[in-house]
């Protein structure tokens, strides 16, 4: 370990000296160091785990093919155990000790928000894999992200509700960052779609029963239920709603966009609608969909190695390739140049959608990136 590190350090000094001459033509080129802090363990591990696997899979593959323009990629990753406090020290470690060129990661919104001051202070391009809109609004010079925001999810859901003529909605959400942020965005956005929130219940993410909250919802005149959450919560909400005989349309967020939800909620999941990235229905997309080839390629590769894909791993795919393409275009490992090129990302077809970034938009996705899905016969169906 330490031997490898010192070798790399020596190599990097040589290259730094030669670096002024430009990157091409340097033998034993400096590796592209991609740093990552992910929640591989802890409550958010179901997000961080596929993210790490995706990064490792593609980095290994690219290196096996000889790297990018002769540059190998070195992936340096730390597990914050879903603890934002740990993420701060690890991002310092990436910047100071490991001297990474770009950071892809920050699984949870909390960790990403905690990492931002460090990345901004040191001037390192940082592509977050977390959901909250706060990460890129207001725009921060060095910070980008790839996943759809909770605001987009709420908008997509309300659009669908409006189409179905639903005007009164009962909201139920978990206690985590994702849940609370989604709840806040829903509350703020509902009036724009002429929707009234008639109930606003919450539960703890480790709660085992939500019938009390749903009983309260049953007593309102809600025409649909919207649940923002991930993990076991949404599956329990779905089952409890059916147990109580509530047959209102049930909407879930993109937090449950994995087969696991259908497996856990079983029969009760039938008819549940959710906004999700196109990855979940890759095979069902029309052939002229620009995302289809990218999605199928990622899905097949991931599933051959690890099992069912989730959209979360897809965010890591998008982050990694946006970074690598920017480095390729910049033809330099200069952090500022990489940053500028990330901002110039146009028409990048990823798993989350087609990215068009700009100085005003460090996400670059619009509502079309989300597809409205319904669960039928234990599988997703495109509703539109």
């Amino acid at each position: 370990m330490s031997g490898r590190r010192t070798f790399l350090k020596k190599a990097s000094i040589c290259v730094a000296a030669a670096g002024l001459l430009g990157l091409g033509g340097v033998q034993a080129a400096e590796p592209i160091r991609i740093g990552s802090v992910l929640s591989v363990t802890g409550p958010a591990s179901f997000l961080g785990d596929p993210e790490l696997k995706t990064l490792q899979m593609y980095v290994d593959e690219i290196n096996a093919k000889g790297g990018i323009d002769g540059h190998k990629i070195e992936l340096i990753h730390y597990d914050d155990g879903s603890d934002a406090k740990k993420a701060v020290n690890f991002v310092k470690r990436l910047i100071q000790r490991d001297k990474v060129h770009v950071i892809v990661g920050g699984t949870t919104s909390g960790a990403s928000l905690a990492m931002i001051p460090e990345a901004e202070g040191a001037g390192v391009p940082f592509i977050s894999l977390a959901g909250s809109v706060k990460i890129v609004e207001p725009v921060k010079k060095w910070v980008f992200k790839t996943p759809h925001t909770d605001k987009m999810a709420a908008a997509k859901i309300f659009e669908d509700m409006r189409r179905r003529g639903i005007k009164k909605v009962a909201l139920i959400s978990g206690s985590g960052g994702f849940d609370k942020s989604g709840r806040a965005e829903s509350l703020a956005l509902a009036p724009e779609y002429g929707i009234e929130i008639v109930a606003d219940e919450t539960y703890n993410n480790k709660d085992t029963d939500m019938t009390a909250q749903l009983t309260r919802i049953r007593a309102t005149d809600a025409e649909a239920i919207l649940n923002f959450g991930f993990g076991t919560g949404p599956a329990i909400v779905t089952k409890n709603a059916r147990q109580l005989g509530i047959d209102l349309p049930l909407y879930q967020s993109h937090g449950v966009a994995s087969k696991k939800f259908i497996e856990l909620a079983g029969e009760a999941a039938e008819g549940v609608r959710l906004p999700a990235a196109a990855l979940l229905v890759a095979e069902k997309l029309p052939d002229n969909d620009p995302q289809k080839p990218v999605l199928l390629a990622y899905k097949r590769k991931y599933e051959a190695k690890y099992g069912p894909v989730s959209t979360f791993g897809g965010h890591a795919y998008d982050g990694l390739f946006i970074a690598l393409e920017a480095i390729d275009r910049a033809n330099s490992l200069d952090r500022a140049k990489i940053r500028d090129e990330i901002e110039r990302t146009r028409g990048f077809v990823g798993t989350g959608g087609v990215f068009n970034m700009s100085p005003e938009d460090h996400l670059g996705l619009d509502l079309s990136a989300f597809r409205m899905l319904e669960i039928r016969n234990g599988d997703w169906v495109l509703v539109e």
Partner: protein, 322 residues
Amino acid sequence: MKRLAGFYLFAVLVALLPVAFPHNYFVTVVGVTIGINAILAVSLNLFMGYAGQISLGHAAFFGVGAYASGILTTRYGVDPWLAMLAGLAASGLVAALIARPILRLHGHYLAMATLGFGIIVNIVMVEAEGLTGGPDGMTGIPPLPLLGRSIDTDLEWYAVVAVVLLFTVWVSLNIFDSRAGRALRAVHGSEIAARTLGVDTAAAKSNVFVLSALIASFAGSLFAHQQSFISPGSFGFFFSIELVTMVVLGGLGSTFGAVFGAVVLSLLPEVLVVLEDYEVLVFGAVLMLIMIFLPQGLFVGTVRALRGIVARRAEAPVAGEG
């Protein structure tokens, strides 16, 4: 002053580390984390080790200090030092209010009460979104101004935290030998016996509880300014348990034991991170092994063993514990 010899040795060590390794991540970055944890562990040891009580809610006071600083500076533009004072006042007040009713409890019941208190405080941090920013926490906490400049770099933070740590250790060592310290140890031995000897046990326990809460709150304010970001997860039930573990791991009742426990428990995850999937497992195993084979704690157990060797050689009686 043989009594404080250990302290001077420790102070020199703390001062020399950044001089010897000025750009070492483990000294300057992890060092700050260790320092803050050590301050917390030493303060908790006052309550647990000296007075023989237990608290599973110590992180709450750490959090009250951090959030007082965070909320007052970012939302109301209060001067960081004034905000820190407000945090101290809030923590002291809360500690004083709950001390009397809660400290009547013993053993597991006291553990439960402090645990419940800690969880309630944490739930407020999560739920009072308008003030605290909810589970995602709050960003943009300004750096701490000191002597006309703001403390910003890791090295500067190391210096500040080191000074506070040394002061805390010094206070803790002095309390041990003071009248108050003797009263506390009497409470630890047997509360009834202490009472019959004329010690106001309720006051003794309550005072040390408030003092330990104040130190924790101060550490919390430092932490908020140093990280510039805080979220409820950093002040929860798990961190309270971790603090208790630091104190017991190092050696209950020993100030340097608490420091040592904080060093070990803060460094371990940084070191074990290379083990990836095995990290959790190894961490648990290491914790168990230490406690099984050194039940008095890593520091106290080692020191006793060393003293035993020295004593046998010199045929001299073993010196008192400090």
